[in-house]
């Protein structure tokens, strides 16, 4: 029994890795405009040799590839951050937005939209940068408030997060009253989506993801200890406060990077770690890497649906993640109960 359990993680990672590869291929091959697989390969080949030209090249290399890769990075970041938050707070409802990152990023985006009132070039760069800054500043503020009295526990973090979150959301709404013409842009930003995907976004976000993901993978053992509770983790030699700061910083970096380029995409960060946990158990040495891979797969697939289901019309990807993911999660829950 225990032996069977031991090989499961390796098998699962291999299976998930193969699934990610297959999903990437599917995502690049399948789009609103049909392109024959042979042409896809040819286009990629020409891109590698730096001689891109023609319709297929623009479609595959200029539009579809950055979008699929961005979906992978964003999905992985959100799911990984969700797994970390769920362990830190020992709370199954924790998701990447639990500490007010969403409202901080939203306020940042809103300020940038107001500052660049028409669709100028500055907006493409400024909105993600402002959203990123808003997310990180909010996290810093929440952590600072929660540790005001010296300790840094889950309850005060959650409460500080809720308080700041409401305050910032109110500020955003207040700004909307005066910049009504920006309201739709803000609402769309908050709905989340990958329609703005570009190589430039990827070049900024991918390095942050690599750093955050690599750092988080070194925390597996400590995250397992955190599941026992702050006190017992402390008795077992973990410096809980320092560790919490570090883990929060990593999870926030992952979340802020994802949010800055894709807005608020729900479900992935909350559900993917649960899905993985139900199948593979709570050991973070397995849970973290599989959450990263699983999140990438889920968001690539969801975005494939979003861009093709009623093509050439697109729907926000957050709608897809919630519509398909919600029932799937319920099914997983019921299946889990029966066993």
């Amino acid at each position: 029994m225990s032996r069977a359990r031991d090989i499961r993680p390796a098998v699962a990672l291999a299976v998930l890795g193969a699934a990610l590869a297959a999903t990437l291929v599917a995502g690049i091959t399948w789009g609103a405009v049909p392109v024959a697989p042979g042409d896809v390969v040819a286009a990629l080949g020409r891109a590698l040799s730096g001689r891109s030209q023609g319709l297929a090249d623009t479609l595959i290399v200029g539009v579809r590839l950055p979008r699929v890769l961005l979906a992978a990075v964003v999905g992985a970041s959100l799911a990984g951050a969700g797994a970390i938050y769920q362990a830190l707070f020992r709370n199954p409802l924790a998701d990447p937005y639990i500490l007010g990152v969403s409202s901080g990023a939203g306020l940042g985006a809103m300020l940038a939209l107001v500052a660049t009132s028409a669709a100028t070039a500055a907006r493409y760069g400024l909105v993600p940068a402002a959203a990123f800054a808003g997310a990180m500043l909010t996290m810093a503020l929440v952590v600072r408030l929660a540790s005001w009295k010296g300790r840094l526990d889950a309850a005060s973090l959650l409460l500080a997060g809720v308080a700041i979150s409401y305050t910032l959301a109110a500020l955003t709404s207040f700004l909307m009253v005066f910049a009504r013409e920006q309201m739709a842009a803000v609402v769309y930003w908050m709905m989340g989506g990958l329609t703005g995907a570009s190589w430039a976004y990827l070049a900024v976000v991918a390095p942050m993801f690599v750093v955050g993901a690599a750092a988080s993978l070194t925390l597996s053992r400590e995250l397992n200890l955190m599941l026992l509770g702050d006190e017992r983790a402390g008795h077992l030699g973990l410096s809980v406060k320092a560790f919490t700061y570090g883990a929060l910083a990593i999870a926030s970096l992952l979340t802020a990077a994802a949010v800055s380029v894709a807005g608020l995409i729900g479900f992935v960060g909350l559900m993917v770690p649960h899905m993985v946990r139900m199948v593979l158990g709570p050991d973070h040495r397995v849970l973290l890497p599989t959450s990263f891979v699983g999140g990438a797969i889920v968001l690539i697939l969801a975005d494939m649906v979003a861009r093709t289901v009623i093509a050439p019309v697109e729907i926000p990807v957050g709608i897809v993640t919630a519509l398909i993911g919600g029932p799937f999660f319920v099914w997983l829950l019921m299946r889990g109960d029966r066993r």
Binding site: V33, G62, V63, R180, A184, V313
Partner: protein, 323 residues
């Protein structure tokens, strides 16, 4: 399905998002409005008399039966297109309330503001003591209901075709007792539109795309006024969907329109637009055929729509207008 008469730049995104949410409602509202119900059903608008006979009965663009008891002396307009119609009819001196989006003609500057397009202030409207309130439909559906409850006479004007604009100008003219001015204005507009159609007559239709919002990319499909303007101006809209839709960038690259129109609210200039991911390869970008349109001309179903039509035609067939 929300109409496009929001005034200044940057309104396109608001419009399309509202459309996203309210399209079902708007479709329901205009379902009863067909081309033949625009005309007043009674009243001798066609006689030589300077004023039509009141009371006047009509069906408006919200499908409501409206009765106008007497010539209205105090008029409130809750949509910039309606305001432009009223001033073009020469009854601007009777307009006592407009929205903050109203910016044309310049005289409208001095008129009391009763709120913005999406959320007029009911108290301010009531305080203006209007004999008639001209509204749009769609986002203003609730406002119409509330104004009715306050006992106001409301006429919803929201045409979705060029022909509809002409008809509705006639409706407004009848309601305010200026039918001759209405006939004159429509005749002038038809003449201008005819001049455009003549200029592009016989020319090969040019493929075009018209952007009303970016990130996500929103466009006007075939059943919209913008879509009709493209067709009349000698173009072929590459978008075959209905209404305002979120459009796939991949499909746009595939469609590769010869001319790329964008409304001011979503794009400021061609150089900026060309820097967007995926845009550098578009034929319209490479050939320098990106045209930024003034929303206020192409989106408001009012007197200046024919100027918008001409802008679009000039973008599609510059050679037809060069001499």
């Amino acid at each position: 399905m929300i109409r496009t008469k929001w005034s200044s730049v940057s309104r396109s995104m608001a419009r399309v998002a509202a459309a996203f949410v309210a399209s079902a409602l708007a479709i329901a509202l205009v379902a009863g409005c067909t081309a033949d119900v625009g005309r007043p059903r009674s009243g001798d608008a066609a006689t030589e008399s300077p004023n039509p006979a009141y009371p006047l009965a009509l069906t408006d663009d919200a499908g409501r039966d409206v009765r106008i008891a007497a010539r209205p002396e105090r008029i409130v307009s809750l949509a910039p297109a309606n305001t432009e119609i009223l001033y073009a009819l020469g009854v601007g001196d009777r307009v006592v309330g407009v929205t903050t989006y109203d910016d044309y003609p310049p005289e409208v500057e001095g008129v009391a503001k009763v709120g913005d397009f999406a959320g007029p202030n009911l108290e301010a409207v009531a305080a203006a003591e209007p004999d008639v309130v001209f509204t749009a439909t769609g986002v203003q559906a609730d406002v119409i209901k509330q104004l009715e409850e306050l006992g106001a006479t409301v006429v919803a004007i929201d045409p979705r075709t060029l022909e509809g604009v002409y008809e509705r100008i006639g409706t407004v003219a009848s309601v305010v007792g200026a039918p001759d001015a209405g006939d004159e204005l429509v005749a002038k507009m038809r003449e201008d539109a005819r001049a455009v159609a003549d200029a592009v007559e016989g020319r090969e239709p040019v493929t075009a795309f018209i952007e009303v919002g970016y990130n996500p990319l929103f466009t006007a499909g075939v059943s919209t006024l913008l879509g009709e303007l493209i067709t009349v101006a000698g173009g072929e809209n590459v978008v075959k969907e209905q209404d305002y839709v979120s459009y796939s960038l991949e499909q746009l690259v595939k469609d590769d329109p010869a001319v790329y129109f964008a409304t001011k609210g979503s794009a400021t200039d061609a150089a900026t637009l060309s820097k967007r991911p995926g845009y550098a390869g578009l034929a319209a970008v490479k050939d320098g055929r990106v045209v930024i349109l003034d929303d206020n001309l192409v989106s408001r179903p009012g007197p200046r729509i024919v100027a918008g039509l001409r802008l679009i035609a000039e973008g599609l067939h510059p050679e037809a207008f060069s001499e």
